[in-house]
Amino acid sequence: MAVEQQRDIISQVAEEFGRSPARLLDVARGVHARLGHLSEESIGFIAEALGLERVRVRDTISFYHFFARQPRGRSTVYLCNAVVERMKGADAVAKAFEEATGVKMGETTPDNAISLAYTACIGLSDQAPSALVNGIPLTNLTPADVPMIVETLRKGEDVSSLPQAKVKKNLLKRGDIVFGAMDPGAAIRKALALSPVELINEMSVSRLRGRGGAGFPTSMKWSFCRTAKGEAHYVVCNADEGEPGTFKDRVILTECPDLLFEGMTVAGYAIGAKKGFLYLRAEYEYMLARLETVLARRRDAGLLGTNILGKGFDFDIRIQVGGGAYVCGEESALIESLEGKRGAPRDRPPFPVQKGYRNQPTSVNNVETLCCAARIVEKGGAWFSAFGYEDSKGTKALSISGDCERPGVYEVEYGMTLQDMLDMVGARNVQAIQFGGPSGQCIAPDGFGRRLDFDDLATGGSVIIFGEDRDLLEYMRQFTEFFTEESCGWCAPCRVGTTLLLKGLEKILEGSGTKSDLEALKKLGATVKAMSRCGLGQTAANPILTTMENFPGLYEARLSKDEFIPSFDLAKALEEGCAVTGRNPDLEEKHA
């Protein structure tokens, strides 16, 4: 394409977003969709169109997984290689793609028809193996499906008519709170009859805590945000569920978007915001059109926009699609991304409720929390707090996958034991439960009497079940590898430490680890946990540390009897020099 033509396209895209630097992520997405990748020239033209320095554009776009910097094929297959996907045969599917296309994963076919790439969890662990092909999800893939998919792509046809292009809802247990029946507007009508302070009091009565996993009381968050001084207040809904093995937001966004938008509106009224953002993970872009339709319908019904229900309250919602970065599920990283920057978390304090989006007071809430909030306004705080257990009130939507008969989304009351959970989904001969995803903990059968409870087993909702025949530590290795790929790189202990954790674990799994390596790995894990800037680094060692704690025998069985085995590989270190000189050293040579 001629350079001038590129420049015109980029200028048009920038114009669509008002040439606002804060919309850099949208502009980059738009340009990527039109031109297929973001070249050095494109970076320059985007910078020019938005009045930004090019290094600032590069700083942002180079951060996100789904922005290709080199030309790609007309179609891209992003095969998911998350742990559950690999348990269910993603490796065989990858091989089938390589055979059908004749290129390796990470490459593009010579006719520029198809590129193959891996991607982290795309929220389909309940119907794995899965892939995103040109943004369209394909599920329950088998190697036998692949030739047909490749043929379709080679012909330049749309994959959305393929039988695999089907996302099952898999909502296997509806509770009364998130997945109960819904009357759009009911919560808003009740909310507007209350003062914001009365509304927050109702949240306090309900004892609702944040469903992202941290469990901070929602009433406190809203109260802090409401009283914080600022020129404007904002509501942000975190729909960036990236924790491997989680997919409950996928179901909520499909099943009850009205309840969620109602929750955001109610939150806006409570904290004094006129604007809300739904930050939708890039992997869920296929839901965007439908969500926009729901928003439009709500505006038509007077439930969104100016003068809502004629009560003088203004509030509207914009959906921001991400670019592919797990760390953006961290609230301050999400805000940075929303401002059109790389998703590097911020240091706290100040907290987002004090200085969030554009340095203004911002309440960032999980999708499910906002659904609960709408329901609380509709039915009352006391009604809500009758569900649940001790200091964990209400229900939790769990994403359960792995070795069980009925993977899917289950809305259960807090207080449920892990054993009851296993019985509910048809899981037998269970070796371990990865509770809360890789950032959570790996639990052995002697812990299956523990309960779903913020003060013991807090979770965002990812539950992965490992059967007794699984090589558990291999999956811990894959989890650790995931963190190395998703570390944002801002802070040293996480950027470097995650890779060192991976190498340390690999040394043990290869059989060349000693007792001292195990001790060193434990110490390293503690350092990464204590010194990292955000939750990603602070939890990245959890797969290793919690299996060391709960499955010590698995490690001991892999240790070498030797006292010390160096990690330094002499032959490898000399490889380059040998190639240059054309000589091979005698590595066994005795010293004089």
């Binding site: 290094v55 790189g489 040293a492 950027r495 890779t499 204590a530």
Partner: protein, 241 residues
């Protein structure tokens, strides 16, 4: 901003602080050194290196970003924290390719000096030996990314002190690299050798060309006293013994 005075406790010593200060600043004013690398007194904190992590009311946090509040109880000079700080310095050594003996920054290098101060003998971790590009396109300044610790000082200084934006980041995770505001390398940017950004690098990554190790060994910044001694000389409070 008000100048309200408050008291914080650092390792059991009462330290007077002023509202608006960070823990690191208040400690420095009192002559207490908290090890740090990416921090620079003329720049807003970046929170990159985490070496200045202290325990704040029992929880780890970076002292360069954490604002003082009356009654905060801080742990700083403890074996546990110093071991973890040393671990981070070791991580930075294995992340890049740092060849102290031949580096022009040796003796004046803050990374090297921290290694000495924190008692690093040799990194315990495997070297990553990354392949990095040297950018020598600028007439007066060059970038040797082998020696970069991604502290972001150059990027912050360019914006905050020079009113430019010469530097930024590229990529993420272990693949993060310092980037410049031109497709043609540093030479294509408006960096001047007189910019603060040109000489604010704590290591030997961003160097002015044509300057060898002209100060003899023995007279360099950290040859006779460890890094942080300048702060400790100001000590106004008596350390608990």
């Amino acid at each position: 901003m008000s100048n309200e005075k408050m008291t914080i406790l650092i390792d059991g010593v009462a330290v007077e602080a002023t509202e608006g200060q960070t823990i690191l600043q208040a400690a420095a004013d009192a002559g207490i050194y908290i090890p740090r690398l990416c921090n620079h007194k003329d720049l807003l904190p970046g929170g990159h290196c985490r070496i200045c992590t202290v325990k704040i009311n029992g929880r780890p946090g970076s002292s360069c970003t954490f604002p003082v509040a009356d009654g905060l109880v801080i742990e700083n000079d403890t074996d546990e924290l110093n071991a973890m700080r040393r671990a981070i310095v070791e991580m930075l050594f294995v992340e890049g390719n740092h060849y102290c003996p031949s580096c022009e920054a040796s003796g004046n290098c803050e990374l090297q000096a921290l290694g000495y101060r924190l008692g690093m003998i040799n990194p315990e971790y495997p070297y990553q030996e990354p392949k990095n590009e040297i950018d020598a396109t600028h007439d007066d300044v060059y970038i040797d990314r082998d020696r970069c610790v991604l502290c972001g000082r150059c990027a912050r200084a360019s914006v905050q002190l020079d009113g430019k934006r010469v530097f930024g980041f590229d990529g993420r995770g272990l693949g993060t690299r310092i980037a410049v505001n031109s497709p043609d390398g540093l030479g294509g940017t408006n960096l001047s050798v007189d910019d603060r950004a040109a000489t604010i690098c704590p290591t030997g990554c961003l160097r002015v060309k044509g300057q060898g190790p002209d100060i003899p060994v023995g007279q360099r910044a950290y040859d006779s006293t460890p890094i942080g001694s300048d702060i400790e000389r100001k000590q106004t409070v008596k350390q608990a013994t």
